[in-house]
């Protein structure tokens, strides 16, 4: 466990040394503040458009940070040949996978925490309603989703040769699930056999990341989600992340480390 934690700490340090997070955070803050300064029909109470823009930027930034950070972890270790001294510590390949996952996930969670604190301050001061419970649920569910994304990208990094191709494919898959995941069963029903069975199978196999996008509840003040549902969704994400990490380990343990 200490080995995994030590590996995770290195990844977290890497995140705050790199400029990705700072650039995305400043960009989100500047766009939100500029949009917030615009007056629409002399009504200072209008706030939902601002929450919507800010949350959209947070989601984009979180995906960029999660996929960007994770995609280069294992390929960078192999390219710089630092993987050899690392495995000679001795550290098992399973611990490398677990450490990289824990590091990337915690780093993304930390970045998300900063984003949500900013969001809470902006929406709370403008609206006069802090909605801490709703914001915490949105933050937690997004953290759970990022966990699945990190595990997925980690699997991609041991399958695909270049980090760029892994990042691109991961973006397409994740955005595809977020946009279409909820409707695949509806699409399947309109297809002839055997396409219907195929689409339905994909529908049941993919991790339903769209569940974790509860921005509408926050934007439109629709109250909190039941804690049981949050817990079940967290368990679902944990099962998928474990499954993907196990698959990563299966591929990685037999993979030659020389480029």
């Amino acid at each position: 466990m200490n080995t995994v934690f030590a590996l995770a700490t290195v990844v977290i340090k890497e995140l705050y040394r790199r400029k990705d997070f700072y650039v995305l955070f400043v960009m989100t803050a500047v766009i939100t503040l500029v949009m917030g300064s615009v007056s629409f029909f002399n009504d200072p109470k209008i706030v939902r458009y601002l929450k919507e823009i800010c949350l959209l930027l947070i989601w984009i930034s979180a995906l960029v940070i999660a996929i960007g950070t994770t995609a280069r972890q294992i390929p960078a270790e192999r390219e710089n040949r630092t993987i050899f001294p690392l495995l000679a510590k001795p550290v098992t390949r399973g611990q490398v996978v677990a450490g990289k996952f824990a590091g990337c996930w915690l780093a993304c969670a930390l970045a998300l925490l900063m984003f949500y604190v900013f969001f809470c301050v902006i929406s709370g001061t403008r609206e006069g309603n802090w909605s801490l419970l709703q914001n915490f649920q949105a933050f937690w569910l997004q953290c759970a989703m990022v966990g699945v994304v990190v595990a997925l990208v980690l699997l991609g990094s041991v399958i695909f040769t270049a980090p760029s191709s892994n990042a691109t494919i991961s973006f397409v898959v994740v955005i595809g699930i977020l946009l279409l995941g909820r409707h695949l069963n509806q699409v399947a029903l309109h297809q002839p056999e055997p396409l219907r069975t195929l689409v339905y199978t994909i529908y049941f196999l993919i991790p339903h990341l769209e569940w974790y996008d509860v921005r509408d509840f926050v934007i439109y003040d629709q109250g909190a989600i039941a804690w049981v549902d949050c817990l079940l969704a967290t368990l679902y994400a944990a099962v998928y992340a474990t499954l993907l990490l196990f698959a990563t380990w299966l591929v990685f343990r037999r993979k030659p480390l020389n480029l």
């Binding site: 069963n185 509408d216 629709q222 079940l232």
Partner: protein, 291 residues
């Protein structure tokens, strides 16, 4: 060796060159601005694709009006058509039809869908208690991107003057619409409503509605499918105004015109009969006018 090109001389030369170029480019740059109808940066940058974005923002206003409960592209068949539901009164046939169309979710097909419904909004509501203001930024953006989209001005004006008490803002926005779309009868009709209902200036409202009616007759009859709904609205409003002012002949005239476009001509026929009765008996008419 003596330097021939002193840096200051080069700098002066470059300044002279930029000044000369500026005098050449400036008149042309003004010409570039004129190419875009509104002449703003968005028009220059996005070209005609801005209309697509404008449509997106108009739909965004509708999504906001429904607090996020809205059919996706996969539920397109049930998607609300037009913007009538955004300005319809509760209990009206239009509102009831909209309510029926918005129950598009149905029963969940599987456990994934059943559980997934805990994480998105599944009940149909409309903004109320002043929260209608939240749709305004999207409408403003939509109008900036596509100044020729009439719905945007009409819907924004309706909410501004009827629910948010911002009559002068509504008037200003309608005037912006009229500057971008001179002679548009829908905007003139809405402006007439604003003067009649909010400023209680019936004389000005009459002139604007009469202008709207003239514009309708100039633009619509030649079309394959003329906009009869708006003709009905304009003539009925003019008839009500004339009735209120005691001009029975004019009121009957407008109601007869409205009968040609109305979906309920029998109701109008009955109203014409009532007006004729009032006309025959001026005493009753005066009393009903006072009432």
């Amino acid at each position: 060796m003596r330097r021939i090109f002193h840096p200051i001389l080069i700098l002066i030369l470059l300044l002279a060159a930029t000044f000369s170029l500026a005098t050449l480019v400036q008149p042309r740059a003004q010409g570039w601005d004129k190419r875009g109808k509104s002449g703003n940066v968005l028009t220059l940058l996005l070209g005609d694709s801005r209309r697509m974005f404008a449509n997106h923002f108009f739909v965004k206003a509708d999504v906001s009006f429904h607090s996020g409960y809205y059919p996706s592209i996969f539920d397109q068949a049930e998607k609300p058509k037009g913007s009538g539901h955004m300005t319809s009164e509760e209990g009206s046939p239009e509102a009831e039809e909209h309510e029926r169309k918005m129950s598009f979710l149905g029963e969940p097909r599987d456990w994934v869908e059943r559980f997934g419904r805990h994480f998105f909004i599944t009940h149909h509501t409309h903004l109320e208690n002043g929260n209608e203001r939240e749709i305004l930024p999207w409408l403003k953006l939509s109008a900036e991107l596509d100044p020729q989209r009439i719905d945007t001005y009409v819907v924004a004006s309706y909410w501004l003057r009827n629910r948010l008490g911002k009559v002068s803002e509504a008037e200003e926005f309608l005037r912006q619409g009229l500057r971008n779309n001179p002679n548009n009868y829908e905007l003139l009709y809405e402006m007439g409503c604003l003067y009649n209902e909010n400023y209680h200036d019936s004389s000005r409202a009459r002139h604007i509605w009469e202008l709207a009616l003239r514009r309708w007759h100039e633009q619509e009859p030649a079309k394959k499918e003329p906009d009869l709904i708006d003709l009905d609205k304009i003539t009925i409003h003019l008839a009500r105004l004339e009735e209120h002012e005691g001009n029975w002949d004019r009121a009957i005239e407008y109601l007869e015109a409205a009968m040609k476009s109305s979906p309920n001509p029998d109701v109008l026929r009955q109203q014409i009969e009532e007006l004729k009765a009032k006309q025959r008996d001026p005493k009753t008419a005066k009393e009903s006018s006072r009432g």
